[in-house]
Symmetry: C2
Subunit: 326 residues, 2 copies
């Protein structure tokens, strides 16, 4: 996130968020503290916290700054919910590795992963309570509900196209975009936005959240184990159908792609061949174009807000989503 410093410097606040997410652990359970710290120290770009901090400042150009404590509470809560959903997501997927390191359930077992997630949800609820606005708590609760729904709503097949796309966007809308939506929405609420401004912030968050996940899904085809922390084609291996695969089939890719997508447990050769075919037919480029479209639509929405460093920061953040390589 250092690129953001060029237009607006929120690094001090982000450090405060980092400290807050690590210092909130005051549990009497050694295991809970250790596993939570491990989880929250394992990197992450604090994209969601940045979104909150910038959205909160959108209306304060030249005027009163929003309350720092409330902004930090929400940004911290967002990062905790994000971490909680990752640890439960890894448990559902039985993933061994995240960002190149062993997952919590791989290291400490499923029960610790289960409780660490619940614990972080509860800590996040406490943080939000301190923000003292029922709209914010409602926003987060709906966000978590949508994450849960998405977790249980797979993309069932690559065809028919309309159905596959509907399922895909419903899935990533919950899995990823819902929390970006909350981050932007709750930031704008703290920043004193009216109903329309809050709605626009939410849509901005939603669209860059979708783009963020599309890029993630593209990187699973174009990246390698070094940058991804897991081998390319991991999603296909796990039976997860993403946008590049859906587009590849629609663009007339070889049967191998459909075969890999429909297989119960595709072997590594089948996956490697399907990954190569998805790349060959440039389905990842088409997916990238869709992500670009979403980012531009999101930036367009910001026109209702006065020009400010925070607005420039949000534009930068949106463009960063497209540039990320891991």
């Amino acid at each position: 996130m250092t690129e953001l410093a060029a237009v607006i410097d929120i690094s001090a606040e982000l450090q405060m968020v980092d400290r807050a997410v690590l210092e909130r652990f005051e549990s009497r359970s050694v295991l809970l503290n250790a596993a939570s710290q491990y989880l929250l120290r394992s990197g992450g770009k604090r994209m969601r916290a940045s979104l909150t901090l910038l959205a909160a400042r959108l209306l304060s150009a030249g005027g009163k700054q929003p309350d720092l404590g409330r902004m930090l509470n929400i940004a911290t809560a967002i990062e905790m919910i994000h971490a909680a959903s990752l640890v439960h997501d890894d448990l559902v997927d039985d993933a061994d590795v995240r960002r190149g390191r062993p997952t919590v359930h791989n290291k400490w077992g499923g029960n610790v992963a289960l409780m660490v997630g619940d614990y972080l949800f509860a800590l996040a609820a406490e943080q939000m309570a301190a923000a003292s606005d029922p709209r914010i708590i409602k926003s987060f609760a709906r966000g978590v509900v949508r994450i849960c729904e998405a977790e249980l709503s797979p993309v069932t097949d690559v065809v028919p196209l309309e159905c596959a796309l509907d399922q895909y966007f419903a899935k990533i809308g919950g899995k990823t975009a819902a929390l970006f939506e909350c981050a932007a929405e709750s930031g704008m609420i703290v920043g004193g936005g009216d109903d329309e401004q809050v709605m626009v912030a939410r849509q901005f968050g939603y669209e860059i959240g979708l783009a963020f996940q599309i890029i993630d899904d593209i990187l699973d085809f174009t990246g390698d184990e070094h940058t991804l922390g897991k081998p390319a084609g991991h999603d296909l291996q796990e039976g997860t159908i993403t946008l590049p695969v859906i587009y590849a089939v629609e663009m007339g890719a070889g049967d191998i792609v459909r075969e890999a997508a429909q297989a119960i447990e595709p072997g590594p050769e089948l996956v490697a061949a399907a990954v190569a075919e998805v790349r060959r037919i440039c389905a990842t480029k088409r997916a990238f174009t869709e992500a670009e479209r979403l980012v531009h639509a999101a930036i367009e929405r910001l026109s209702i807000f006065p020009d400010s460093p925070a607005k420039d920061g949000l534009v930068e953040l949106a463009e960063l989503v497209l540039r990320r390589k891991m």
Copy 2:
């Protein structure tokens, strides 16, 4: 809970809570709705909701009644958190059966159980947000944190006595009493109590919560498959050390009890022999005496409140805890 009707009739409100917990499910995920409804329909005595509804009325004798909507929001949230913690607890314990019916993860798999729990936590947070009091949300968040801590804090051995008792009360204090505490505390907050009254309500909830769990642990020795929905000695079988076992060892029970408590996977014969020995030496009676002591201490605390049907109801509720047979 029908016995309560003699002193104060909260059956209409409890029916509203029942409806609310079943009607809040408006998820687009068929699985989430089905599993949540299954979970919340599977009985339960709504003890925690009753505690909230009665505590909320403790100060309203002859005066203004607390807001019905806010009381119901909190009572509903409490029951949702209770259900969420049960479904995650069953997942941690890999329990096949609860109240004589297959558990959610047994019926739909671990991933559904994981998400149903998260979903219910989120719905509960939303309910609480509607109650619009940060103290209440804080109370619930601390409650969930303590449930998580307790889930990962086993009683490691039956000796030394002091250590075993400390571990046992820490465990059940989180596992069960924390939510009773929240229920009473948040009811009192809605009822307009001052800081001291809120504290007393919390302690009342804590003590009857401890007693509730002790009785539960006694029933695991004195009940049978018909009343428990699981065979007697189930806790020992699962490696869970409870108060009757700790007392039995301290009262000089045969080595068989200690052996069963320390075994990694005790066989059914060993468990049956240990259960018989715990009964023979009357360790369950001693545990019952401890539960009685806690209930009487809890009732004693109510003396700071004016006499009222709600107070009589809480006394009844506390005594019911000692009388329950399943």
